[in-house]
């Protein structure tokens, strides 16, 4: 780990414990509790919302490896906060890939279609040119950070070609009621309706698709890092509980089947961390499908580990007062980032076959 990465991990740990830990349960009640704007103002000040932005645009100019360290550490405490950082990084990566890094904002949140398959972008929005600008109409569902964003990066159809636009919150952008999601609830999602909304064209045609897909590939390591962080948090809570709780004559940590769960979660925690950080180092090397393979594999490990993590705590694990229920929901939610995993498997095969 480089000195910069070590520093970012330490900063993320301090931020997670100092700013996030105490309000996790309340924040997770979103949309039935308010979005914690103060938290993200502070996150912006610390620099978590601009890790990948070029230095010349006011960002930290960090690498995906540094981002992965930050996400992993944040997700160990709260995966929702890590998802907000990931969504923001994704927006900046799309802008950078489109050669428009100067349009990125370091403080204001930018909404994206984080859960969409990059090979099957939604076609609910249509764009048309009007003078020097573009006008967008239509609907698009499940846009991440939409309820709290100042900017939106959205796909639309322009003259029968795919295109990517940057929009500002305001006239013509109607954000629907926040969606209650399975997990990562404090990383808000909503459907959007556009009515004569003005947008800035970032890319169109083949460029739009390839730039968007490259941004996705760059950040698959980030999804894996969030999953690795969730597993680390799951292990810590499961071990602490197993030491504390008795079943029959002995602590549950002394029951062989509980040890089997803890052993498998510990193995997943160690392997997923190594894989996520390794994928970050190969983030720009898309040809071998390694980042995609890591996202897939670590996601599977995290879902299984968190389901078992709930099981270790028994009835208490199912209650939202403990952290395991949220981790299980968060892990499954994160598995949907960048599209359904069953399509990802197919794409990994095609990439490998082409090679």
């Amino acid at each position: 780990m480089s000195a910069a990465q070590t520093e970012i991990a330490a900063l993320a740990r301090e931020f997670a414990l100092g700013e996030i830990a105490d309000s996790i349960t309340e924040d997770d009640r979103y949309p039935d509790a308010p979005f914690d704007e103060t938290l993200y103002r502070k996150a912006g000040e610390v620099g978590f919302l601009s890790l990948l932005m070029p230095e010349e645009a006011g960002g930290a100019g960090e690498t995906p490896s540094a981002l992965a360290e930050a996400l992993l550490t944040l997700a160990e405490t709260d995966a929702s906060a890590a998802a907000v950082v990931l969504c923001q990084a994704f927006a900046h990566r799309i802008l950078i890939r489109a050669g428009k890094g100067n349009l990125a904002s370091a403080e204001a949140l930018t909404a994206t279609t984080l859960y969409d398959d990059p090979l099957d972008l939604p076609e609910g929005l249509s764009a048309s040119r009007k003078g020097d600008s573009y006008i967008l109409d239509g609907t698009i569902d499940y846009v991440t950070l939409a309820p709290v964003a100042s900017f939106f990066i959205l796909p639309a159809v322009l003259e029968d070609e795919p295109a990517i636009f940057l929009l500002e919150k305001g006239d013509g952008v109607e954000v629907g009621e926040p969606v209650l999601t399975l997990g990562l609830r404090a990383c808000p999602v909503a459907d959007i309706e556009l009515d004569q909304a003005r947008g800035t064209l970032l890319a169109s045609g083949g460029d739009a698709l390839s730039g968007y897909r490259e941004a996705v590939e760059d950040l698959r390591c980030g999804v894996a890092a969030i999953h690795a962080g969730i597993v680390a948090g799951c292990l810590a809570e499961a071990v602490a509980y197993a030491r504390d709780r008795y079943q029959g004559w002995k602590q549950i940590i002394d029951h062989g089947q509980i040890r089997a769960y803890l052993g498998s979660i510990a193995a997943a925690a160690a392997v997923s961390k190594e894989l996520a950080l390794s994928a970050a180092e190969h983030a720009s090397d898309h040809a071998n499908a390694f980042p995609a393979s890591v996202q897939l594999t670590v996601g599977e490990m995290a879902v299984e580990s968190t389901i078992n993590g709930v099981q270790v705590l028994g009835g208490n694990g199912y209650m939202e007062d403990y952290g395991q229920a949220k981790r299980m929901r968060d892990a499954k939610q994160a598995q949907g980032i960048f599209g359904p995993k069953d399509l990802l498997v197919q794409d990994i095969f095609l990439t490998v076959a082409e090679k």
Binding site: L180, G183, D191, W249, G256, Q311, G315, Y318, G336
Partner: protein, 492 residues
């Protein structure tokens, strides 16, 4: 976004999907006919009445976990349909159906909403404790209250309380119970007992009118003194704590129950334990685990029904999802899981019919009518007078102690097997369904998200699956080789 409307052609067919029951039709046509008619009537009720409420109730309870109205709304619906008196003998005003019929019904309800199914299932869990006591005068009174209240605005619902904050699955097995960190205890006083302690995670707790509660008379010797009481919730000294903040199955409350010098008269003692009777009591848990198995099958089926309907409607990369081979394999896997789950819990039910409580419904032509006859006997004054006596409880204990030996043990092992496998199938289907639906699977208003949250509880309540595997091993494997030690110290 609207909840997914399940197409008629994707609904499970009673004839096609119940091959074992088709065979059963030849043995007892009356039983089969009754089961078929209940299935048809309840299916339309579940689809027309429960389905529209389920997601809404789940959403409201996320917004306000302290709101009890969604529980009551669902409970009133179920009551008006007579779902709380299905197994109440006809002579006491109920429908007089055997338990195994209830299993199919639970599957049907839970294909739409596990929370509603849990309200019905947990009611029968409490009711079983009362039924098992064979205190017929008390039994008749409560049964009649249940029946008459069903059409009122406040149905009489039952619950069963066993789990405590510091002990869970270890209350389900005598070897563990001896070392369980039980905090509750009942003390004999003139005319009755004083109950103290706290129970938690009690399904239906805060909407129940009566519940059965199990407590030792001596915490240091729980196996020898394990006693079951009937507690009317208005009893002084009893109070409800909070409803727990569950991840799913939100439509059924799970409550904390508090006993502070709560006096329960002798007539409300349902069973008084000794070591052998307690062991047999644990065997009977197999029956309640079959209930969880049928609930699980419904949940697995609900996941499949939504997934296949979604796949018909959804385009993926320009093509219908349902035409993709990989998607077809996933849907096949999900449907196979449902069919395996159903076959599993039905096999367990057949085991109970042959070896357990089902012996009340002899497995032969006319068996169902014989059950109706035995129900009539229960209503006779002679039977009631005899079961009023103290001698009755002593005899019941003796009977429980002798009670069927390996046969009940076999029923328990089948129950543990069914519960474990069916809940694993439910969890697997929920996970596959969320994956297949992508972002739509991760929003509450489409329904699959709720199934994922609901399914996890199935692997936990009525004894965790780990506990069930141990129960299965003890009763199925060590029965043939008693030299094997269970619940011992692991060498690693």
């Amino acid at each position: 976004m609207n909840a997914i409307e399940i197409s008629e052609k994707d609904l499970y067919s009673f004839e096609e999907s119940n091959q074992a029951l088709q065979l059963f039709k030849a043995i007892d046509p009356t039983y089969y006919r009754e089961m078929r008619s209940v299935f048809e009537r309840k299916r339309s009720f579940v689809r027309e009445k429960i389905a529209p409420l389920a997601l809404e109730a789940d959403r409201e309870l996320h917004r306000d976990p302290a709101n009890k109205e969604p529980f009551w709304e669902m409970a009133r619906l179920c009551a008006r349909e007579g779902l709380f008196s299905l197994t109440v003998p006809r002579n006491f005003g109920g429908s007089g159906f055997p338990f195994s019929l209830g299993m199919s019904l639970l599957e049907e309800i839970c294909a739409v909403d596990a929370g509603a199914g849990n309200i019905v299932g947990a009611h029968y869990l409490g009711w079983l404790g009362l039924y098992g006591s064979m205190k017929l005068r008390l039994f008749e009174r409560i049964c009649r209250e249940i029946v008459t209240s069903e059409q009122s605005g406040k149905p009489v619902i039952m619950a069963a309380a066993l789990t405590e904050p510091t002990s869970g699955s270890d209350n389900f097995e005598v070897e563990l119970m001896s070392g369980a960190h039980l905090q509750s205890e009942a003390r004999k006083v003139p005319g009755g007992y004083i109950l103290n302690g706290t129970k938690c995670f009690i399904s239906n707790g805060s909407i129940s009118t009566y519940h059965t509660v199990m407590m030792p008379l001596n915490r240091k010797r729980p196996v020898d003194t394990f006693t079951t009481f009937l507690v009317p919730t208005e009893t002084p000294g009893f109070s409800f704590g909070r409803d727990e903040h569950k991840m799913g199955q939100k439509g059924c409350p799970a409550s904390v129950m508090i006993y502070e010098d709560c006096f329960i008269p002798d007539e409300y003692v349902l069973s008084r334990g000794d070591a052998r009777a307690t062991e047999r009591f644990m065997d009977f848990m197999g029956l309640t685990q079959m209930g969880v198995a049928s609930i699980s099958t419904g949940v697995a089926r609900g996941a499949y029904e939504r997934a296949v309907t979604f796949a018909r409607e959804q385009l993926v990369r320009g093509n219908p999802l349902i035409n993709q081979q990989w998607a077809q394999m996933i849907l096949s896997q999900m449907l196979m899981n449902v069919m395996s789950a159903r076959a599993t819990y039905q096999e367990a039910c057949f085991c109970d019919l042959l070896n357990g409580t089902g012996r009340l419904v002899p497995l032969r032509r006319g068996g169902f009518r014989i059950k109706q006859f035995s129900d009539r006997l229960m209503a006779s004054e002679v039977a009631k007078r005899w079961t009023d006596s103290e001698e009755h409880l002593r005899k019941l204990n003796e009977m429980m102690g002798r009670g069927g030996g390996w046969k009940l043990s076999l029923v328990a092992s089948y129950g543990a097997w069914a519960k474990t496998k069916c809940s694993d199938y439910a969890m697997a289907n929920a996970s596959l369904g969320v994956d297949l639906m992508g972002k739509a699977g991760r929003r509450q208003d489409r329904g699959m998200e709720k199934i994922f949250r609901d399914a996890k509880l199935l692997q936990i309540y009525e004894g965790t699956n780990e506990h069930c595997r141990q129960v299965f091993f003890k009763r199925y494997v060590t029965r043939k080789d008693p030299a094997i030690k269970v619940y011992g110290r692991d060498v690693v």
